[in-house]
């Protein structure tokens, strides 16, 4: 997966709208709801120091981020996945903050599509 510094991939989003048709808005709402839960899970695993679970949770979120077209958020998740694999959560808290901030931004940007 190539690194992308965009908050929203507008091209991907347009394609998604074409695919989802009348369910596009529902999908985005589902994504936002889902992501809140998943970010919560990531935080929990970090607080408990569960390295593998942290990596897996980041991996899960990464998936839907890439489908929806939030490249930067997906990239942060990829970094979290790597941390989990390498067993080093020292940068965890900093990444957690980045993820939460980025998500807030993405949510804001997606409002116009809902």
């Amino acid at each position: 997966m190539t690194t992308n510094t965009e908050h929203l991939d507008l091209g991907a989003l347009a394609e998604l709208r074409e695919v989802m048709e009348e369910e596009f808005a529902l999908l985005l709402r589902t994504f936002l709801k889902d992501s809140v839960i998943r970010i919560g899970q990531i935080r929990e695993t970090l607080e408990k120091g569960q390295v593998e679970e942290f990596g897996r949770a980041c991996h899960s979120l990464k998936g839907s981020c890439s489908n929806v077209g939030a490249p930067l958020l997906a990239d942060y998740c990829l970094q979290g996945e790597r941390m989990g694999r390498e067993g080093d959560l020292s940068q965890g808290p900093a990444l957690m903050q980045a993820i939460e901030d980025e998500f807030a931004l993405v949510r804001e940007l997606l409002q116009e599509y809902l």
């Binding site: 997966m1 695919v19 989802m20 999908l27 589902t30 994504f31 839907s64 890439s66 489908n67 929806v68």
Partner: protein
């Protein structure tokens, strides 16, 4: 190309991703069935029986890898393609997915174009697999069908071929039970005169085509041998039948024997079979084929010249099909005639030869080779009463047949050289079913009187020549020569039958155009034992109630009385 609508099962725990995937597949025109984890996926599979499965790898309750194994088990023989949905990118994880039974991957973000292409490709594969299974089942069915047909053919053949005397003590053989489907046929039958015909045949081809030719061959062999026809007559008839009825390129290699136990004579016809080996008192004679196989030549071109031998008790001849000579060792070498000769040179006692040959060939072939197309027979000269076989079962008949009759039959000129009337005359006599129990004796009488009339009367051969060992062969060569050149002369049979208390009496009169002989002189001298070179008069006197010569000795009448068994 338009895709037929499929039912596709997806298992994805992420709501967002699942929604997107459902949509994409729905837009492609297919039906979607969704599960949230591996366990639900297996339950849904059972219920819905989808054609293709899309599985996320990391799922709660049962992950994709375990689910994939289960689904493949449940699919059984059918091919249900499983495509893993994953954003795993390392080679090790991807390999694990394929090991679990996955057929492909689809990575996130989901690309509708790629998914469409993969669905199409796997559907093609699925359909091809189904065709394969269907064809496999068809082949299996056809194979079973063919085996059943072969069973029927074998039963028919065994019923035709079981009449016969293969269990006689002078015959040893090995032949696989299914040999007829390799084209190998072994037949043996007693002649009414007490002699024996043996035939080893090898038809071209395998399976039913090879077996089919064996049926008319067996019918002719048993039918004609039982009526007393000569070996060459039987061969000629078989050749003609096969030539007429088999397609071009189908024929039967054959080796045939005619054994005369009372005279200890052997006649051999070899057409296309590997050379037979004759063991006589320690000497080995190799008899190569000097004729084409049966079913190749037109009747006119068919040749019947045979090897002729006088044998002693214990002498034996070996016939085999090419399975023996062409047996291959594990490294492809052929057994060959040389090795066969070696066996004969190295084995001291003749009764060991049969087993020795068999053992050596089996050892030569080694473990891997099948030995079910080895066919071999050993026929030994021994006294007739040592053969250990019952006289042929006479088929019971409810009718009496004609009781008071007579007929005259005369052949003359060239016909004398071309036609033996004895089987025909015997056939007419045997129209009285109760007399069939005596066919052997009647045949002997007819043959002796006919041979005398032909050889001594018409052809003018001297019986004294047959006494010497070399003279025996010369006699028969001279006989052949004179028969070919004959243009005049005749022999006439007059057969009469009258019923008598409890049976009947058969009067057989034979007259020939020859000069006769001094039968008065014979009556005065003692009958010569153990010599067959006379006119067989002691033998005839043993069978007939009365034997009388008339005129100059070219007319003889034999009276044969029979009683109902």
């Amino acid at each position: 190309m338009e895709q037929e609508p499929l039912k596709i099962l997806i298992a994805e725990d992420n709501d967002t991703d699942r929604m997107i995937l459902q949509r994409i597949i729905f837009r492609l025109g297919h039906t979607v069935v969704s599960a949230r984890d591996g366990l639900e996926a297996t339950e849904l599979y059972e219920r819905e029986k989808p054609q293709i499965v899309l599985l996320d790898v990391l799922m709660p309750r049962m992950d994709g890898l375990v689910a994939a194994r289960r689904l493949k088990e449940m699919a059984g023989e059918d091919l249900v393609p499983i495509i893993f949905l994953t954003s795993l990118s390392d080679a090790e994880s991807l390999a694990k997915c394929l090991d679990a039974g996955g057929d492909d991957f689809l990575s996130k973000p989901y690309n509708p174009v790629v998914l469409k292409a993969k669905i199409q490709a796997f559907n093609r594969m699925r359909l091809m697999h189904r065709t394969l299974l269907h064809q496999r089942d068809q082949i299996s069915l056809h194979h079973e069908h063919m085996l059943r047909e072969q069973q029927v053919a074998k039963t028919v053949f065994d019923n035709i071929a079981h009449l016969g005397c293969l269990q006689a003590r002078n015959i040893r053989y090995f032949l696989s039970p299914m040999a007829v489907f390799n084209g190998d046929v072994l037949l043996a039958a007693l002649k009414p005169s007490g002699g024996m015909h043996v035939l080893l045949g090898d038809f071209t081809g395998h399976g039913l085509p090879a077996a089919i030719g064996a049926m008319p061959l067996a019918e002719i062999f048993y039918g004609m041998t039982g009526k007393g026809f000569s070996m060459t007559d039987v061969l000629r008839e078989i050749n003609q039948k096969l030539k007429k009825n088999l397609p071009p390129g189908f024929f039967c290699c054959a080796a045939m024997l005619d054994l005369n136990f009372s005279r200890r004579e052997l006649e051999v016809w070899m057409g296309g079979m590997p050379a037979s080996f004759l063991w006589r008192g320690g000497e080995l004679s190799v008899l190569p084929s000097n004729h084409l196989p049966l079913g190749v030549l037109e009747a006119k071109a068919f040749k019947t010249n045979t090897y002729k031998f006088e044998l002693s008790e214990g002498d034996r001849i070996f016939l085999w099909s090419d399975g023996i000579v062409e047996a291959r060792s594990p490294d492809g070498e052929l057994f060959g005639e040389e090795r066969l000769r070696q066996v004969f040179e190295e084995t001291n006692h003749p009764s060991l030869l049969f087993d020795e040959v068999h053992q050596r060939v089996i050892r030569f072939m080694g473990e891997s080779e099948r030995s079910d197309d080895l066919s071999m027979v050993e026929v030994t000269m021994m006294p007739e009463d040592a053969l250990g076989i019952e006289a042929d079962q006479i088929s019971g008949s409810a009718i009496k047949g004609p009781e008071s009759w007579e007929f005259t039959y005369k052949i003359e000129g060239k016909t004398l050289g071309e036609f033996n009337p004895v089987p025909l005359i015997l056939h007419n006599i045997l129209e009285m079913p109760p007399v069939r129990a005596y066919s052997g004796q009647i045949y002997t009488v007819l043959t002796e009187l006919y041979s005398n009339a032909l050889e001594h009367g018409v052809l003018g051969l001297s019986s004294a020549q047959k006494q010497t060992p070399g003279g025996f062969l010369e006699y028969y060569q001279e006989r052949e020569r004179r028969l070919k050149e004959i243009t005049c002369g005749w022999i006439q049979f007059r057969i009469r039958h009258r019923p008598e208390a409890g049976g009947g009496v058969l009067l057989i009169r034979v007259e020939d155009s020859g000069p006769g002989f001094d039968y008065h002189a014979f009556a005065r001298s003692a009958p010569v034992e153990d010599s067959y070179s006379g006119r067989g008069i002691p033998l005839l006197c043993g069978i007939c109630r009365r034997l009388e010569y008339f005129g100059c000795g070219n007319m003889v009448e034999a009276e044969f009385a029979w009683i109902k068994a």
